[in-house]
Symmetry: D2
Subunit: 381 residues, 4 copies
C-alpha cells in the first residue's frame, strides 16, 4: 500500500493505517503524505518508511512506484487527502495501473465522479471507497435480514447523524479539520451532506438495497460567519415505494458521532446505533424485541456478519475494525484477483465507485432541492 | 368530577380516572359513560356511581347536575369521548357553568376549536386539555432550562413519535380503538397527526416556548385499505428562527409509544424519551453529558419539576402520574379560583384551550402542506 | 381504610395513600396519623378527614372504629409507623377484627413477628405486607417464567440494592427519615438489612420460589459516627441447591434506589432493574436476548403480569402502581372474602405474614452470621 | 516479536497478533505456534512467516533466534499457550535475553510465578502481562480519578464477571477452548478464578490502587460432570479499609463477557462495563451523574486515558484496541529501554510480573478460602 495524504495533523489518514495494519494482510510501503514536501518527508519518517519510498508529491510517487519490479511494487494506493484533492491522484493512479482506495466523498464534484467511474471501467481496476459504517458486522446483518424478507416489505427509513463538533466557529480558531471541511473550495457543494449526510444516505441504501429517487431537503448554516451549511434535513422517497427521513447536523452541540438508522417493515423494525455497534435491535410486531450481537448467536447471524467479526461476543469491536473490514475485504478481493481466484460474495461486500458516484449525486440533488421552492426534487444520476 | 364517555371498552377514560383519583383531590361523582344508554348505566355501576347520578346521555347529566345544590354539585366535567364528540358536550358544559377537562385533540375541526375558545373567554371558566406528556416533571425541567437560557440560543428541534400498533389493518378486525381513530368521520382530518403528531408538536412548542410558523409535510397511508393517513414527517420552522423535524408513525412495527424529543442550542442539547420519563439527558458542548433525574438532585431541578414529583429519585413515576399532574394542577388552580386565591405559576402549568386550538391548527396546516407541491406552508391560526 | 402513622413529614405514608387511592377501590376514612396528637389532627385535616374520625392515637381509633356500624366501619387498617411501632397497633387491630396492611419490615423483632403470625392464624384475618417490588408486573412475569421452567434448573441468583442517601451522617443534621432508620431502638437489629436487604431477599425468594437456607454475611458501618450498619454483602444458599449473592448498601454515593436482580438457570437468565421496571431482559444460551415489556406482547406475558398492568406498552407504570397492585390485590381478595367468593390466584398474589416472618428471620440470621467467624450460618425460622 | 502458541484453532493468539499489528510498532517475525510440530509449521505459513523462522517448538525458536544478528533478532517473545505451558518458555526466553509478553494468568502455580519474578529481577528484562481490561482508556480514567481523590475515601468495590459460554458440558463435545480451561492439569487450581476472576481482581486493585488483604470465597462446580469449578463469589477486604464483592461465573447462561466494576467513595461512584468500554459513568452524591467518554471532553480526561485513545469520541474503540494499548505501551517502554530514554508514566502503565504474581496468589487464596470453614482467609503472597 502507498498512501497519498495522511501526514502529521491529518485525522483520517491515521485511521486508514490502523485499519490497514490490523489483519496483517497489508503493509504500508510508500507515501506522499502531505502537499507540503517537508511535512511529507517528516511524516514518512514518523512511519518508518524508507527514504527511497518517501515522496514529496503524489505524481513522483506514482511514477516511481510504477517503475519498480512487480515483487516490490505496491498493489494499491490509498488517497486520504481533503475532498478537492481526491480526483487527480485517483485518476493518475488508475492510469498507472494501481488499484485505489479513496476516502469518501469520492470526489469534489459529480462530474469528477463520473470521469472516475469511466476510468475504472476502462482499466478494470478496483476502486474501494471507505464508507466506514457499512463495514460493521451488524450493519451487514441488518442488510442480510432485510434482503431475506425478515421484516416483510420495507415501509419507512429513519436515519440520523448528529455531530456537535462544529458548534462554534472553530474553523476561525485554528482547527485544521474544521477549516477545510467548511471551505467550499476544498469541501464541495455541501459540508454537512458531504461529510456526514453521504454516510447516512449510503447506509440507508446499503441496508435496504433500495435507491433514493426523490428528495425534499432543507440545508442550514447555523453558526454565524460559516461559509457553508452545517445542518440539514431531507425527506426521502425510495424506488421500492418506501419513504424516509434523513437528518444530519454538525452543530448538534454535545453529540459525538451518533449515526443511527431505523428501518421499519411490515413485520418489524431494526435499529442500529454506531456508538454501540455490536448490537442490532430487532423489534417485532406483537413479539418481544430481540437483541442480536456481533460474535454471538452465530446461528442467527448471516455469513456476511460473521465474516466481518474477529472476536467472540462481548469483546467489543469498534470503528477501526469496521474500517479494517473494508480494507480486508478489498485486500481479499484483490488477492483473488491477483491469483485468478473468484472472490466470495462476502469478500466483494465493500463500497466501490458505484457507491461513490451515488454519494456525489446525493449531494448535488440535496443542494438543488434545498434551493428549490418545490417540495420534491428528482434524484438524478 | 363528572365524566362523559369512558365506559366499558374505552381506553383513555380509565386512565383519566386513575389520574384523577391519585392525589385524593378529585372524586368521580357522576357520569354519562357511553353513547349507548345501556352501557352507560352498566359502566356507572362498575364504578360504584350512585344510580341517581348515572346518566344515559351527557345532555341529561349536564342539566341535572347544574340543578344540584352547590355543595353537592360537581365542579368540572371530563370529556373522554372520541374526537368528533368533544365539541358539543364541552360547549354545553361551559354554558351550564362547568369547568371542563378534554382529552386531546380538543375538537374535530379548527372551526370548533375557535368557537370553544370564544366560549371559554366569555364564561371565564377553565378548560384543561390533557396533553399528557407535558405533565412529566423532566419535560418541565427541560422547559425551565431552556427558558433560563442554559443551552443558549435554540438551534434545532428533533421530535419523533413512533408507534407500531396500527401496523396491520386491525380496524377491520374488531379493534375498537383502531376503528374510530382511522375513520375520518370520527377522527378528523388526519389520524397520525391528530392522535400523536399533535402530542409531538405540543411538546416541541411547550419545551422551547416557541411557535411553529411554517411546515413542510408529507403524510402517508402505509397500510393498504386504510381510510386515513398512518405515517408522516414534517419539517418545521419556529418563530425564534430555529428549525425542526417532526416524525410520527402508527405503523413503525415493533414500537410501543416511543415519543422522544431532542433540542439543541448553542451550548448543548437535551434529550427526553417517554419510555424512561424520569431521566433527562443534558449534553454539553465540550463538557461531560449529565443525567438529571426526577426526584433527585433537587438543587438542580426547577420548581416546575419538583412540584410535579411525588416520590424520591429511583422510585419511578410514570404515565399515570404525568396524567395526574395535569389533573392536580388543574384542581389546585380550580380550588384557588373557588377560594379566591391566586394560583402559583407551577399550578397554572397545564395545557388549556390555547394549546388545543394550536393543535387543531397544526393538523390543518400539516394536511394542507401534505397536499401542496410547494415546499413550505404557513402555519395559520 | 384507616391509617396509623403517615402524618406530615412522613415519607411512606403518602405513598400508601397514593397507591390506595389509585384504583377507586379504597377510601381513606379515618386516621391516627402521628404519635404527636397535635400533628395527628393537623395531618388529618390536610387529608380532608372528618374531625370525628381524626384520632390522637391508634388505641382510640381502633376502639372507636370497631364500635361503628358495619356499613360505615373501615375494613382494614394500614400501619405506616417506624419499624418499632408496627407490632402493638397490628396486634390490637387484629384483636378488634380489622384486617391489616403493614409496611415492611413487619416488626421490630422476630419474636414479635411470630406472635403476629399466631394472631393472624387465630383470627383468620388478612395481613398484607407491602414488599413493594413484588408488585411490579415484570417481577411477576419473571416468577411465572421460572415457575414454568423456562430457564431450566435455577443455578445462581445475584441481587443487589445500592442506595446512596445515607452517604453522610445526615441523621445528625435533621433528616427525620435517616434518624429513625439509623437508631437501633426504632429500626431493629440492622438498618441496611431491615430497610433494603429484606426487599432484596424477598424478591429473590419470591421470583425463584425457593427459600434461603444458609447465609454468609458481612455487615459494615461505613459512615463514621453512625449507630448502625449501613452496608452489607451476603452469600446465599437456597433450598433448591442454587447459590446467590445479595449486596445492599445505603452509602453507595450517587445511587438512587437501584434494586436489581439477575437469576440464571440452565437455559438462560433474567434481569430486572427497578429503575426501568417495565422491562424484563431475558437472556438465552446461544439465542438472542429478548426484551419483554409490561403491557406489550400479551401472548408472551403470564396472567400474573397482565393482571397487574393498567396501561398499554410504552405508557410507563412505576413505583406507585406497583404499590397500588399490592393494595388492589389485597382489596380484591378482601372483597371476595367479604362476599364469600373465591379469589383468583392472581388476586392472592400479595405478600402476607409468612413473608413478613421470613424477612425478620433473614435480618436475625444475617446479623448473627456477620458476628460469626464461621463461614455459613443456618437460616432459622 | 516471536510467538509461542497461537496456531490454528487457538483463540487468544490471534487477538495478540491483531493487537500487536495495530499501531505499526511491532512485527511478527517468527513463531513456534503449536505444540504439534506439523500444525506449528502450517500455522506459520498461514501468517506468511518465512520458513527459516517457522519453528517446530519453542526451544528451537529461542535458541535459533538468540543466535541471530541483533538487527534481525526479535526483541521479545509472546507466550499465548494454555496456562500450564507459560512457565517453561518464559523462563527460557528470559534466560536467552528476550523480553516477554505472557497471556494471563501468568503461570500454572504461585511457585512458578515466584520463580519467574526472581528471574525477571535477575535479568532486568521486561515481562508484560496481558490483563487486557486495564488497557481500556476509561479504566485508566477511573484509576486517575480515584488516585486524585475525586471520589474521596474509597468505601466499597463491586466487581462482577458473568460469562455464559460454559453453561453446558461443552468440554466433552469437542470445544477445545473449554477442554483445556476445565482440565486441572492444564488450567491450574481454579477455572473460573484463573480464567476470569483474576481479571476482575486485577481490575479492582488496578483502579483503586489498593491491595486485597482477606477473602471469603465460595467456589462452585455448577455443570454436572465438570472437573473444575465454573462459578464463584468472593467477599473482599482491601488494605485501605474498604470492602468488596467479586462475582465470577462461566455458567451465567446468556451472558457474553460482561465484566463490570463499580467503586463507591465518600463523594460518588464510578461504573464501567466492558461491553460499552468507551463510557465511564460517574455518579455524584447530590449532583447529577456524569458520562465521561473516551476521546471526548479532553479537558476532563487524564493523560493516562488520552494517551490510550486513537479515535475522537463517538468512533468506538474496543477490545482489540485495549489489547493493543498494552502492546503499545510495552513497545514504547521497550524502545525507550533500547534507546536509553526514560519512558513516561503513561508508557509504563502496563501490567507486569508483579501483577502476575498477585493474580496467582489470588487464585491460591480463593481456593484455600473456598475449602475453609472459616469466614476470612488472609491473602498471602
Amino acid at each position: 500500500m502507498g498512501m497519498i495524504g495522511g501526514g502529521r495533523d491529518a485525522f483520517i489518514g491515521s485511521i486508514h493505517r490502523l485499519a490497514a495494519n490490523m489483519d496483517g494482510l497489508i503493509e504500508l510501503s510508500c507515501g506522499a503524505l502531505s502537499s507540503n514536501p517537508e511535512i511529507a518527508l517528516l511524516s514518512a519518517k514518523d512511519l518508518f518508511l524508507p527514504e527511497s519510498r518517501s515522496y514529496i508529491n503524489y505524481e513522483k510517487m506514482i511514477v516511481a512506484e510504477a517503475a519498480l519490479p512487480s515483487d516490490i511494487k505496491i498493489d494499491f494506493i490509498t488517497i486520504v487527502t481533503p475532498n478537492f484533492a481526491h480526483f487527480a491522484p485517483a485518476m493518475m493512479a488508475l492510469e498507472y495501473g494501481f488499484n485505489v482506495v479513496i476516502e469518501k466523498p469520492m470526489t469534489f464534484s459529480l462530474e469528477e465522479a463520473k470521469q472516475l467511474q469511466q476510468k475504472v471501467i476502462e482499466t478494470g481496476l478496483i476502486l474501494c471507497l471507505t464508507y466506514t459504517y457499512s463495514g460493521y458486522p451488524m450493519v451487514k446483518q441488518a442488510k442480510a435480514m432485510l434482503n431475506q424478507g425478515k421484516l416483510g416489505k420495507i415501509r419507512k427509513v429513519w436515519v440520523e447523524y448528529p455531530q456537535g463538533w462544529l458548534s462554534t466557529l472553530s474553523e476561525k480558531e485554528g482547527n485544521v479539520q474544521a477549516a477545510w471541511r467548511t471551505d467550499p473550495s476544498k469541501s464541495g457543494k455541501s459540508s454537512v451532506m458531504g461529510d456526514i449526510g453521504t454516510h447516512a444516505a449510503h447506509l440507508a441504501e446499503y441496508i435496504t438495497g433500495s435507491k433514493i429517487t426523490d428528495v425534499c431537503a432543507e440545508l442550514n448554516t447555523i453558526v454565524e460567519g460559516r461559509a457553508m451549511d452545517d445542518d440539514g434535513a431531507v425527506l426521502l422517497k425510495f424506488d421500492n415505494g418506501s419513504k424516509g427521513v434523513l437528518m444530519a447536523s454538525q452543530v448538534a452541540a454535545g453529540e459525538e458521532n451518533a449515526l443511527k438508522i431505523r428501518i421499519y417493515g411490515e413485520k418489524g423494525g431494526i435499529e442500529w446505533l454506531q456508538h454501540e455497534p455490536n448490537t442490532l435491535v430487532v423489534k417485532w410486531f406483537n413479539e418481544p424485541t430481540q437483541i442480536l450481537r456481533a460474535g454471538s448467536n452465530y446461528a442467527y447471524l448471516s455469513s456476511f456478519a460473521t465474516h466481518n467479526c474477529r472476536t467472540p461476543g462481548g469483546h467489543p469491536e469498534g470503528y477501526i475494525e469496521a474500517f479494517a473490514n473494508i480494507y480486508r475485504n478489498f485486500a481479499l478481493t484483490l488477492n483473488c484477483s491477483l491469483d485468478g481466484r473468484k472472490p466470495t460474495p462476502e469478500m466483494l461486500d465493500f463500497p466501490t465507485v458505484e457507491d461513490g458516484i451515488r454519494g456525489m449525486a446525493f449531494i448535488d440533488t440535496v443542494v438543488a432541492s434545498s434551493k428549490s421552492e418545490k417540495k420534491w426534487t428528482t434524484f438524478n444520476l
